[in-house]
Symmetry: C2
Subunit: 410 residues, 2 copies
Amino acid sequence: MFVEIITVGDELLIGQVVDTNSAWMGKALNNVGFEVIRVTSVRDREDEITGAVDSAMKRADVVLMTGGLGPTKDDITKHTLCKYFGTELVFSEEVFENIKRILANRITLNPLNQAQALVPKDCTVINNKVGTASVSWFEKDGKILVSMPGVPQEMKFNMTEEVIPRLCARFEMKAIVHKTYSVKNYPESALAIALTDWENNLPESIKLAYLPKSGIVRLRLTGRGDNEEEIRAVVLAEGTKLYDILGENILDENDSPLEEIIGEMLKDKNLTFATAESCTGGNIAAKITSVPGCSAYFKGSIVAYANEVKHELLKVSNETLEKFGAVSEEVVKEMVIGAMNALKTDCAVAVSGVAGPDGGTEEKPVGTVWIAAAHGKTILTSKQVVDFGRDLNVERATNNALLLLQKLLK
Amino acid sequence: MFVEIITVGDELLIGQVVDTNSAWMGKALNNVGFEVIRVTSVRDREDEITGAVDSAMKRADVVLMTGGLGPTKDDITKHTLCKYFGTELVFSEEVFENIKRILANRITLNPLNQAQALVPKDCTVINNKVGTASVSWFEKDGKILVSMPGVPQEMKFNMTEEVIPRLCARFEMKAIVHKTYSVKNYPESALAIALTDWENNLPESIKLAYLPKSGIVRLRLTGRGDNEEEIRAVVLAEGTKLYDILGENILDENDSPLEEIIGEMLKDKNLTFATAESCTGGNIAAKITSVPGCSAYFKGSIVAYANEVKHELLKVSNETLEKFGAVSEEVVKEMVIGAMNALKTDCAVAVSGVAGPDGGTEEKPVGTVWIAAAHGKTILTSKQVVDFGRDLNVERATNNALLLLQKLLK
């Protein structure tokens, strides 16, 4: 079954908001076997919305829309869809009750909120349990269009609780199996060379994609067919061949983020963990703590942006700081030891670097980052040298620190 | 001038990668007066790419594409565009030299890298100084299509250095002026009510949008016309009226992120700053350090995920922890004082909460977060109560901590 997604809102087109809805929806739909064939973002203009809706309805079986359902003037999706489907807005007592419930204890009900109780007449209205804009489910010529609020948490709730279950009940779908192998130590093209024979001999039913990101290439195998178990077996057989070729360079086969892989390793080995961060500024800690349940292994961090904090809280000696500079192998080694001592953990990572855009020198240009990972008395270090811009330098340093820890703990 | 953006890649449609390119491009194009009217994401399939390209070329003056230029089999944008524009791939010695330069000291050159030196014959080839996939600039019937690599930093570099300057040289554009006012303390609909009269009296040349995000509503005024100074004057006059209505609730008028606003305040007042974080796990520090030059005011953080770290490094008394629990006003007050003492700063924020999904109790359900901001002996606290899911709870706590500090320093 083919799905198209349309996200509506001027803010998407002028780039003030990144459309994260469509990726989330794509993932959720894919998991249950729907194929998203196109995502379109359009402005809050009637003709542009109608144009996008009309061509999507021709290509796809299901069109899912988000956005343009807010209480303010610039939100026109509801009116536009009424025109497109030849219906009108009517007041829904049920939706109004829900709006009152949602807004209770938050703000005083106002006429704009009341207008959100106007819903298209000829459609199935799904009350939005977590927001004031209701979901409209239209059907026409065997095709389905669902309009949802653009607020991500409201969209996610309604997709999960209402839209996906209803779509699954409605269509009979081909089975789909994804398996994603995360590979380290290979740039994309070198990996493709290493896998040439394997790739050329992949069964017809399997599709392969290379997804490179910050030092890791994810290989995604997708199988489609009538029998899920058969497809899974075919996909897994290809995965076994991948292990024969790539061995320990395969980091993970569940498309888990690095912070989850690390978390599982720490839990399995019953180890506690801390970070000492300079240029990453807490980013490694934030990543580690994005995993629910991380309190089982993560105790905390010292973000030592100023040198005096490196000295006072992490006990990096002033001599080392002066002799080698804050961005040096010697300093990250003392930082990582200092983190384990101060936070009383079994292992730690430490990072110090020049994130940029300023602060570079000839000897240590912007992009230079030293990383250390330690488990007890064993310390590994690595150096990062290329400048990809401040944000990406930090992101790469974060990933490389976790990769170094993974190498150490393996 | 109308622009459409097409982003290519299976990974976007199945949601393994969020398309951040189009938002970045939309913002950059908008700043120089181009209007992005549509963004389309399609899979790595010839017919789907061709379909999207063909209709975009009909609607827009300029079509900008990213993605599908990698060295591997699944990348087919270059071949597809050759077919569409009726041309063929030829070997470019100049592009090959660039590829060799880029890959020097990184990996051994392989046949797939060499194939990246094949470029469309009838187009302007722009050598990509930061990557191996070159940029192709096609022209047909007075319209322009530019195909760029999908790797964000490569796209950004080529947009900034090559594509935007060339587009600006090529077209004469209407002037455009944006002004974005960030408003706190108002939910979207309440704000719309407060602004009804003002909004109804906006001049024709001005467009208004409401952009709510984590407790702040950004009001974006966009003016278009022939004379930039005249438009700016009209926009600013409306801004002045906004101040009359909203007063101190206007946080900022430059669409600056909160971390930049805070950074400017701290610099202006010559104050140093630190954070003590439990459930935000370093996220506030990471946000603060995303601003270049933050070392002028930011000294560091203690991420105290474990209670023993709250006690040992932040000197939160065990009695307070036991009596009130880690998620309490009393504890964040001791944390914020502990942060100022341990990191020797003038001010600090502290956060402790139940991010979820687990760990909630009847008294302190998931979503409960206590926040403190301190400047010397003055301490403000606030409490966050609604559960929006782990990631969003952390994001909101981060924002609310910075808003509390802003209130304190104002």
